[in-house]
Amino acid sequence: MSPATIGLASFGGALLLLLLGYVVLTAPGAWFPAASPQSWGPRDASLTRGSGAIDGDVLMIDAAEPGSTAVLSIKADIRSTDYRAIAWRLANVPEQADVRMFWRSDYAPAKMNSVPVTVAAGHLLPVDVSREATWIGRITGLALAIRTTGAQPVQFLGVTAKPRGALELLHDRAGEWLAFESWTGVSMNTITGGAAVQDLPLPFLLAAAAALAMLAALLLLRRFSPIASLPLALGAIFVAAWIVADLRWEWNLARQAIATRDQYGGKDWQGKHLAAEDGKLFAFIENVRAKLPPAPARIFVVAEAHYFRDRAAYHLYPHNVHFEPYRDMLPPSAALRAGDYLVVYLRRGIQYDAKAQRLRFPDGSTLAAEVQLAEAGGALFAIR
């Protein structure tokens, strides 16, 4: 057997061995349970505290005052001995949120039991209930309490009761590794590598398997092949591990390329922007541009959200644009002069007196101006 083959076989063996070890350590009960996972979607849930609404397949739980609690409950009927983990699928959960899972059983119907739930990267880690003394009898209700500290709505996508058999565990891990990770605003800094929260990150598993395989290759080569060829075996193991990690990434890239083509394919650059996340803003700015004189006009852009402020400014170039890149601050009204333009987009606090044709800024100062364009959420003013 060639050293490379010994290396590759060792790597395959080490990978299987580590996966087996993972199952031994993490499967709390039977490896092949009779029960199958049971799921509940947003339409099966009710908000007993807090407010929200279903949007497509997601229950959007409204942002509440800091410190207030939203409670989500579900009627269930499952045998506690069949299900050893509860996986809540939520997104946008603030890192500082205090989250607890509650359940009620027919063993003590009056008693409400609870455990804390860990928040990671805006999601919830699965709750292992196999060692909970009060997880007994038939479970008749599940609930989740989220004491928020953030101001963003939390998305509830569903909850699944899991028997946590060996195959299900491996299936879940594979699902996490292969979960589609689309481009986001943080993709320039971080590629998660699948699901946002992973119980067994693939790079770590591959590196551990490679290290184990290298040890195995060293022993095997000592016995069956010239030890001089050890570097070849080590190299083959590392390259194989890299390729496995890269297969996952290439698969993700391919799905992303299809999604990108579906969103933008066959469109000119303006069509692409209209199809982009800020399509509405782009359409508004195109209308603004139609009202402006030939570039370069001096334009001030204001919006509360820095994304809209900065993006609107970008769409206005090559005009001579001013925007506050990082803070929601208005330009001093004294800086605006006749001939300048002001674009206001989703920004409270700026008022326009149509009769007097004057803009009023939050600090009380006013400025003579004329409305050039007014649409829902946005307006263009010419300073006089």
């Binding site: 590629i191 770590f204 570039a295």
Partner: protein, 478 residues
Amino acid sequence: MDSVTLSLGLLLPWALGVAALLAARDAARPLAAPGEITWLLGAGYLAGALLLTFWMRALSLAGVRFGAAAIALPLLAVAGALLILAWRRGGGARSIGAMREAFAPPAVTGLARAFWWGLLAWIALRFALLALEVASRPLFPWEAWIGWATKARVWFEFGRITEFVGAREWFAATGNAWFDASPANPATLPLLQVWASIALGNWDDALMNWPWWQIAVALTLAVYGGLRRLGATSLEALVGAYFVASLPLANAHVALAGYADLPLAAYFAVAVLAFLQWAGTRTLRDAALAACFAAACPLIKIVGAVWLLALLPGVTVALAPRQGRKLVAIALGVIAAALVVLAQTSFVVAGHPLHLDFAPAWTSFSDSLFLLGNWNLLWYGVIGAALLAWRQSLTPPLLPLAAIVATGLFLVSILLFFPGSAQWLADAPGVDRAMLHLAPVLVVFMVLAFRAFDARWTAAHPLPIAPDAASATAATQR
């Protein structure tokens, strides 16, 4: 038609750079030498892109409006003249023969041959997927549209380089200066976007980003060629090029083009590869080439000046291995001590506080390196290679590269331990993006360190000679 002119326009810097490197290279070095052609193709694009932007700067200074003819015709003439010069110096027929040899598959058989072709196909698929993204997606990442493409749009529309200033200067100006979030950003990358738009004939903030894809392809070619020139076998060099081409975070910077981090990583890596070549040959030509690519780093991103400094320890140990090693260790130690002092004190100089808070984000750092998908297995590989070849890393020929890598990691660790140090640089990135600047060089180190380990191991454990071979050897000696 637009796609034809765009393609031709994108090929212009490539042709120009390859012609320039061909004309400048040592004619005594055969073109058919391992990696020579791929190095020329890779480094050539990066050189050509720079030359193109130098010419655009010159046109703007001279008051000549940007246009396809004003930019392309003189550069085509220069490229043609350089090619003729190179043809005469190198012998045209020999060049064609060398091309044939360069693109011939390596002399490997069986599984290794299948692996070679499979890996090439895999790399090609990667670049095809990235090409789909670049061709389709309008400018996406945040900094790209608040501090880079802003300039490209204005310069494209007005046909010249206009001044970009900070808010205070903008308010004081009379409309002849523009504002964006990063007015000090160098002009090189926006000018490449301007050129792509001119070649296309209109503004298109998706298609103008093709240079990012070209830079990634050029980097892959240059890493392959550079590793071959440094003695790696064709399979080792291809694996190194594949590692560079498949780094997920680098891929993200191509698909979501518009940031300067990947271009900076490419120029820095090519500077290091050219420097390592010089460390072997000690010729003035190689030194000049390495210096040119190193000098380009601050022209890509301001923080490139810091990476330029990272080359100095490499130069020091290349010139004087034993004393240089001590000198570099002392210098890094002194800087580390100074940082510790700044963390413990509250000096104020000219109104600027020099205190640095020690606030490493260990969890996110270790997650990024070892658990997330940013780097595939790069960091495990770098640690493994360093452990396997730690002794060779302390002596030439690996020592200069090891010194650069150590200094690079030291610089990144400053950002990690003292996040406040980012304020000292106008465009200091986060730790992840700083590591991207170093990542291709780390791949080069990984491959060369592994080679060094391989050589040491093979020397220490010679293959047993078969009895037939032993008797044949004995007969020959007799």
